[in-house]
């Protein structure tokens, strides 16, 4: 747990325009993206943002389309707070924090139409590809949202389609890319006092009043999530949008 003295040090630093780890208010920690880390997955990536690292992987399986979308495949995103990643993450069924994380990442990636699901149909109304994107933290030091979205996108961008031959799924020597139509990133802020710090660490999140995650796709906002039991001021939200758009340009470079 964080002591009051450390909490105060974090607040004082932010109030004077810096962070306890030496960053500025609007600085991300160093980002590293590595793809193709799990050969058994159709696509995979590990992403680290400072001390936070996550692994994401995609499996493509056969499924039945939803009755109202007979010619579309399905992308489902899951995330859990794997207990190996932090002392406070517990084994067992996902709790609300894990479900929120999964749903926010899912909204950013799925609702933005990142994957062209119309290209995942095998037989209309009967057989489609179901893409399962699963994200696990390996080591958690705050901002699992942005690391999760980035890892999910990096895995999607490098994923290969299995083939469906003679009623069998073939997963060897795949060449065809999974259809990705758009690039999404998310940018997360924490409100500490009157400032919004970008890419908060776990300790910063602990002392923060509120959190805001902004999903950005091609210059537009595609997902928003306010978290934390404090509040945001309207002008903070506007400021966050501007800064998120700017950061999204830099984050996208990690997906190339």
């Amino acid at each position: 747990m964080i002591s009051n003295l450390e909490a105060k040090r974090i607040r004082d630093a932010v109030a004077s325009g810096t962070r306890t780890d030496g960053r500025g208010i609007d600085d991300f920690r160093p980002i590293k993206v590595e793809t193709g880390v799990v050969a058994k997955a159709e696509g995979s990536a590990t992403v680290s943002i400072g001390g936070t690292s996550v692994i994401a992987g995609i499996k493509m399986n056969l499924g039945t389309p939803f009755p109202d979308r007979p010619s579309e495949g399905v992308l489902m995103t899951g995330a859990e707070l794997s207990p190996m990643a932090h002392n406070e993450f517990e084994a067992g069924p996902p709790r609300e924090d894990a479900i929120e994380l999964a749903r926010v990442i899912d909204r950013s990636i799925r609702e933005a139409g990142v994957m062209d699901v119309s290209k995942l149909c095998i037989t209309e109304g009967e057989k489609v590809w179901m893409a399962n994107l699963d994200i696990y933290p390996l080591n958690a030091d705050g901002n699992l949202f942005d690391a999760g979205v980035l890892a999910g996108m990096a895995a999607l961008n490098t994923a290969k389609m299995p083939e469906y031959v003679d009623e069998q799924v073939v997963r060897e020597n795949l060449k065809k890319q999974v259809p990705v139509a758009h690039q999404v990133v998310s940018v997360t802020f924490a409100r500490i006092g009157d400032a919004l710090v970008v890419d908060p660490t776990r300790d910063e999140l602990e002392v923060s009043e509120a959190r805001l995650t902004v999903g950005v796709c091609e210059g537009k906002l595609v997902a928003l999530q306010k978290g934390g039991d404090g509040s945001l001021k309207p002008e903070m939200v506007e400021d966050a949008f501007k800064r998120a758009l700017k950061h999204s340009q830099k984050l996208l470079k990690h997906l190339k």
């Binding site: 747990m1 002591s3 003295l5």
Partner: protein, 276 residues
């Protein structure tokens, strides 16, 4: 009948340290039939017939009389629960919080120690059910109002304190900080060049197992501060057994003598680390 391992050899659990009944297993070692084996990842130390392994990692296990820093995690009706950076939490009963009488009907316990407060305290008792009790009554024991709190691996604490507290004293003198090193791996640093003091502690934590630590730290602190160890020594106030490093402390607050990881005087044994 012979030593198999060498002094200061790095061993893992299960490695044979000595053969025969002439040796006795100390901490970090155990007897398996005729042999003494390591039970810990660490460095072997032969002391006469005793063979022990100095651990390189591991959680803090409370020992009676240990000076520690606890972080309050719960305020109860007549006691506080403190996190000791280890598997066992500690309780502080109302009567052990202050020399002054606390009336639980009138006084709000949270106004004395609130959740998140860091308190220098001492292990008073460990009962038969392994409940750990600490006290904040005693010289130097108190709530910390300013400065920084850092967590280090508890196994590195003896090296951070140094022989007769020489290491922590050296860091304090070079950086002009006040420090308290809890046996449980929680450290308080205040004033002066806090950042350098923390950097020094982190360096010891990372290199505690490498021989020549004291000289390396001397060189490191000299380089960072531009002062030599001799200058630091010369600037020390004349040492008397009763003041030790305390002569260097800023004015004492709370009308109470404040003792930190003080000098080599006998009465400060409480705050000394194991020898190197």
């Amino acid at each position: 009948m012979s030593e198999i391992a060498e002094n200061r050899q790095l061993v893992v659990p299960g490695e044979v340290l000595a053969e025969g009944m002439d040796y006795l297993p100390g901490d970090g070692a155990y007897r398996n039939q005729k042999n003494i084996l390591s039970s810990t990842l660490g460095l072997v130390e032969f002391k006469g017939r005793l063979v022990k392994v100095i651990p390189l990692n591991g959680k803090y296990m409370p020992k009676k009389d240990d000076p520690v820093i606890g972080i309050v995690k719960e305020v109860g009706y007549n006691k506080w629960t403190l996190d000791l950076n280890g598997p066992y939490d500690a309780f502080m009963l109302v009567g052990d919080a202050s020399d002054r009488y606390i009336d639980t009907n009138r006084d709000k316990l949270a106004s004395i120690f609130g959740v998140g407060d860091a308190v220098i305290c001492q292990i008073k008792k460990i009962d038969e059910n392994l409940a750990v009790f600490v006290t904040a009554r005693g010289p130097g024991l108190r709530k910390l109002h300013e400065g920084r709190i850092i967590h280090v691996k508890a196994a590195k604490i003896p090296r951070i304190i140094g022989k007769s507290a020489s290491m922590v004293k050296m860091i304090k003198e070079f950086t002009g900080t006040r420090m308290f090193v809890g046996q449980n791996g929680i450290i308080w640093v205040d004033g002066g060049d806090e950042a350098l003091a923390v950097e020094a502690v982190r360096k010891i934590e990372a290199e505690a197992h490498v021989p020549g630590l004291t000289d390396r730290m001397k060189a490191f602190l000299s380089e960072k501060t531009g002062k030599t160890f001799e200058e630091i020594e010369a600037s020390r106030p004349s040492e008397t057994p009763s003041t030790g490093a305390r002569g260097f402390q800023p004015p004492v607050r709370e009308a109470r003598e404040f003792r930190e990881n003080a000098g080599p005087s006998g009465e400060d044994d409480l705050f000394q680390g194991e020898s190197e």
